[in-house]
C-alpha cells in the first residue's frame, strides 16, 4: 500500500501547533514511515499539489486566504483543522469584537488604510470549507494528533473526549482553581489537554472549546458556591470562545 501524501499549511496563527508536530521528536520518524510529507513550508523546501491529507493550522482573515483554503480543500480527500485558530478561530476572534477600521488604525495608525493591510472578520476553517477532523487546543496535544492520524490510517473513528477538563484535572489530583479564588473554565471546556493549565497552576481558559452537553446546573452551583457569577464566567469565555454560543 502506498503511503498517504500529507501536506501541512498555515494561515493566521502563531505556528505553535505545527511546533507540536516537531515536538513529537523521534516519533515523527515513526510517522514518516507510514505517511509521506510532501509539503510543509515551515520545515521543508519541497512543494506539492498532490496530497490526500491536508493539515491546516490558523484562522481565515482575508478573502484571498479563503480562496487558498478552498483550493487546498479541493485537492485533499481529508482536511484536518489543527489547533484552536483553525477549529474555533481561537484568540484571533477577539478581533471580531471591534470594528475592522478600528483595529487597523489601532495597530497601523494612519497607514491603516493601505490596501495590503486589509482584513476581514476572523473565521474558523469550517466557516469556509468542510472540515473532516478537528484537533482542538492552543496548542494542540500532539498525542491527540498522533491518535487521529493513526485512526485515519486504519479507518477507525478517533475518540475525542466528550467530558470536561475537570475530569482530567481531578485525575491529576490538583486542588481546584476555585479554591484559589480564580475563575476556571474547566467545568465547561472539552477535555483532552491532560488539564495542562490547572496542573501548571493556571485557570483553564477554554482553548479546546465547549464540551458537548455541559452540566450547566453543576457549573452554576460552582459559581454560587464560590461567590462568582455567570457573567464572570462569560467574561473568561471571550478569550477563546468569542465565536461560540454561550452554554451557560
Amino acid at each position: 500500500m502506498s503511503k498517504p501524501r500529507v501536506a501541512i499549511f498555515d494561515f493566521a496563527c502563531c505556528e505553535g501547533c505545527q511546533l507540536q508536530i516537531v515536538n513529537m521528536e523521534e516519533e515523527i520518524l515513526d510517522l514518516v514511515s507510514v505517511v509521506e510529507p510532501v509539503e510543509w513550508r515551515e520545515a521543508m523546501s519541497d512543494h506539492s499539489e498532490e496530497y490526500t491529507i491536508a493539515i491546516v493550522e490558523g484562522s481565515i482573515t482575508r478573502p484571498a486566504d479563503e480562496e487558498r483554503l478552498k483550493e487546498i480543500r479541493g485537492r485533499a480527500a481529508i482536511l484536518i483543522a489543527l489547533g484552536a485558530c483553525a477549529t474555533t478561530g481561537g484568540v484571533n476572534k477577539l478581533k471580531n469584537r471591534f470594528g475592522l477600521d478600528d483595529v487597523k488604525h489601532c495597530v497601523y495608525g494612519n497607514s491603516g488604510d493601505m490596501p495590503h493591510l486589509d482584513t476581514a472578520p476572523t473565521k474558523a476553517l469550517d466557516e469556509v470549507v468542510k472540515v473532516d477532523y478537528k484537533v482542538h487546543g492552543c496548542p494542540i496535544n500532539n498525542k491527540e494528533l498522533a491518535h487521529i492520524i493513526r485512526c485515519l490510517l486504519i479507518g477507525k473513528q478517533p475518540t475525542i473526549p466528550t467530558y470536561p477538563v475537570c475530569v482530567e484535572c481531578k485525575m491529576k489530583g490538583n486542588i481546584c482553581r476555585y479554591e484559589y479564588k480564580e475563575i476556571c473554565l474547566g467545568p465547561i471546556t472539552r477535555a483532552g489537554c491532560e488539564a495542562k493549565c490547572p496542573s501548571g497552576g493556571f485557570w483553564c481558559f477554554g482553548c479546546r472549546g465547549y464540551v458537548d452537553n455541559p452540566n450547566v446546573n453543576a457549573a452554576q452551583d460552582i459559581m454560587k458556591y464560590y461567590g462568582k457569577t455567570v457573567a464572570d464566567l462569560r467574561g473568561r469565555m471571550l478569550l477563546f470562545g468569542s465565536k461560540q454560543e454561550h452554554t451557560i
Binding site: C14, Q18, M44, V107
Partner: protein, 432 residues
C-alpha cells in the same frame, strides 16, 4: 553577454511565517529587489483592549509559538511594572531559567532543523535522518531536553502556564531541579557534537559583510537575555527600556504587513549576532571556547554568522542555567503566594527573545483593564536589515547562476531566523 534574472520565491520555506523574495535584473541592472512580508496581520494590540491584567499573558503568548516564553515574560514584566508588583529573587531566577530554556529550544530548532539542510545540501531535515542519523538524533535529543526544561519550569513548553503576575502558579521541586541539572550536564557534550559538525561545514556559510548597527539588551559585566538597558554598536550610551519607541522608530511600507524599524542607520539588526557583538566579553568559559573555535570576532558584520552565534549562545544558556540551578538548590525552593492589587498605570517589559530584543508596553485603567498596547517584535526590527543586506549582496553575486543567487538570498533570510507571524502586529507608528 545579456543575462536576465527573475527570482520570485513565494513563501520562503524553513522559516516561521510567510515571506517572499523578488529579484528582477537584466544585464547587471537591478530592476526590482524586495523582501516582502505578506503574512496575515492578527492585530494583537487591538485585541487586548478591555482584557484584564491577568489575561494579557494568555493572549499575547499566542503571538508566537516558538518564543511564547519570551512573549509571556515580556508582558508579565510590563504588567508588574505598571502595577508596582515586586517579585522575589526565587521568581526572578526561575523565570530567567525558563527563558534560557527557550533560547536553547529555539536555537536548536533553527540551527538543527532549518539551517542544517542548507549546509548539507538537503531540502529538509527528513532526508538527513537517513544520511546523517547520529547528527539528527543528537539535535532531537537537545531539542527534547530544552522542551522538557521549559515544561518543568513553565508548566508547558509552548504557551507556558506556570508564570503568574507576581510569581509562580506552580514551583518545581528540588528533586526536579536536580533532575534538570543532570539533563543539562548531559546536553553540553551533545552541543559540542553539533558545534563540531557545523564547524566542519562553516565554509558553506557565505562570506558577506555589511556594516550594520546591532541592538540588544546590555547589562554591565553580563550577557543578558532578561534584564538590562538597550544598547547599540553605533553609540556607547544606553537607552532605558521605557524609551524603546525612540530606538525602534517603526514605519509601514507597501511591501510588508509587518512594520519596519531604524535608528542610527537605514536599518538595524537584532538577535544572537547582535547580542554577541554587544556582550561577547561576558560569555561563560565553555561558550567563549566555542566562540574561539569558530573564530567569531566581536564586531562581525556577516549576517550568515547569526547561526554560529546561536550555537555559542546555546552553550552559554546551559552553562548559566547550571549555575542558577545550584544557587536555587542552595537556597531551597520556598512556597510563595503571588499577591497583586490592580491599579491604573503604564508599564514596559523587555526581554531578548531568541530572535532578538522584544518590547511590550501596556496601559491599564484603575480596574486593571488594558486600555492600549504596543508590542515591538524582533523580526520587525530585522526586516529592514534583510532588505539592506539584499541590496548589498546581490550586486556582489550577480555573475552566479540564478539558482545560486536564489539559494543565497533564501539562506540570508533564514540566517535571521525570522518569526514572521510574530512580526505582523504593532502600533504607534512613525511615518515615512
Amino acid at each position: 553577454m545579456s543575462k536576465k534574472i527573475d527570482i520570485n520565491v513565494r513563501h520562503v520555506t524553513r522559516i516561521e511565517g510567510h515571506g517572499n523574495i523578488v529579484l528582477k535584473a537584466s544585464d547587471g541592472t537591478i530592476e526590482k529587489l524586495e523582501w516582502q512580508v505578506p503574512e496575515a496581520p492578527r492585530f494583537f494590540e487591538a485585541m487586548v483592549r478591555g482584557r484584564l491584567w491577568s489575561a494579557i499573558q494568555v493572549i499575547v503568548s499566542r503571538i508566537c509559538g516558538i518564543c511564547s516564553v519570551s512573549h509571556s515574560l515580556a508582558s508579565i514584566k510590563a504588567v508588574e511594572d505598571a502595577m508596582g508588583v515586586q517579585i522575589s529573587e526565587q521568581t526572578n531566577k526561575l523565570r530567567m531559567l525558563a527563558h534560557y530554556g527557550e533560547q536553547l529550544q529555539s536555537h536548536a530548532l533553527h540551527v538543527g532543523y532549518l539551517v542544517a539542510p542548507d549546509l548539507l545540501g538537503a531540502k529538509s531535515v527528513v532526508p538527513l535522518a537517513s544520511s546523517h542519523p547520529d547528527a539528527v538524533k543528537t539535535v532531537v535529543a537537545i531539542h527534547r531536553a530544552a522542551n522538557q526544561w521549559i515544561e518543568l519550569i513553565g508548566g508547558r513548553a509552548t504557551h507556558p502556564v506556570s508564570f503568574k503576575i507576581g510569581g509562580f502558579g506552580k514551583l518545581p521541586t528540588e528533586a526536579e531541579l536536580t533532575g534538570l541539572k543532570r539533563s543539562l550536564e548531559d546536553t553540553i557534550p551533545k552541543l559540542q557534537i553539533v558545534a563540531d559538525l557545523v564547524l566542519s561545514l562553516a565554509n558553506k556559510l557565505p562570506n558577506f559583510e555589511r556594516k550594520t548597527e546591532y541592538i540588544a539588551l546590555v547589562e554591565p559585566g553580563r550577557y543578558p537575555f532578561y534584564h538590562g538597558h538597550i544598547g547599540s554598536t553605533d553609540v556607547p550610551s544606553m537607552v532605558d527600556i521605557h524609551d524603546f519607541e525612540l530606538v525602534a522608530n517603526e514605519y509601514v511600507l507597501p511591501q510588508s504587513t509587518a512594520k519596519w524599524a531604524k535608528w542610527h542607520r537605514d536599518s538595524y539588526a537584532v538577535g544572537a549576532l547582535a547580542r554577541y557583538n554587544l556582550n561577547a566579553d561576558y560569555l561563560m568559559p565553555l561558550a567563549a571556547k566555542t566562540a574561539k573555535a569558530f573564530g567569531l570576532k566581536k564586531g562581525c558584520c556577516n549576517p550568515y554568522m547569526n547561526s554560529v552565534a546561536q550555537l555559542i549562545e546555546s552553550v552559554q544558556v546551559v552553562e548559566r542555567a547550571l549555575r542558577f540551578i545550584d544557587e536555587l538548590l542552595d537556597a531551597g525552593i520556598k512556597q510563595e503566594t503571588p499577591h497583586v492589587t490592580p491599579r491604573a498605570g503604564v508599564g514596559v517589559g523587555a526581554v531578548e527573545a531568541p530572535r532578538g530584543i522584544l518590547f511590550h508596553r501596556y496601559a491599564f485603567d484603575e480596574d486593571g483593564r488594558c486600555m492600549s498596547a504596543n508590542i515591538c517584535i524582533p523580526t520587525n526590527q530585522n526586516h529592514g536589515n534583510i532588505q539592506k543586506d539584499f541590496e548589498a549582496l546581490v550586486p556582489q553575486i550577480m555573475d552566479r547562476s540564478q539558482d545560486e543567487i536564489r539559494q543565497m538570498l533564501e539562506m540570508l533570510v533564514r540566517a535571521y531566523d525570522p518569526c514572521v507571524s510574530c512580526s505582523t502586529h504593532y502600533l504607534d507608528v512613525k511615518f515615512v
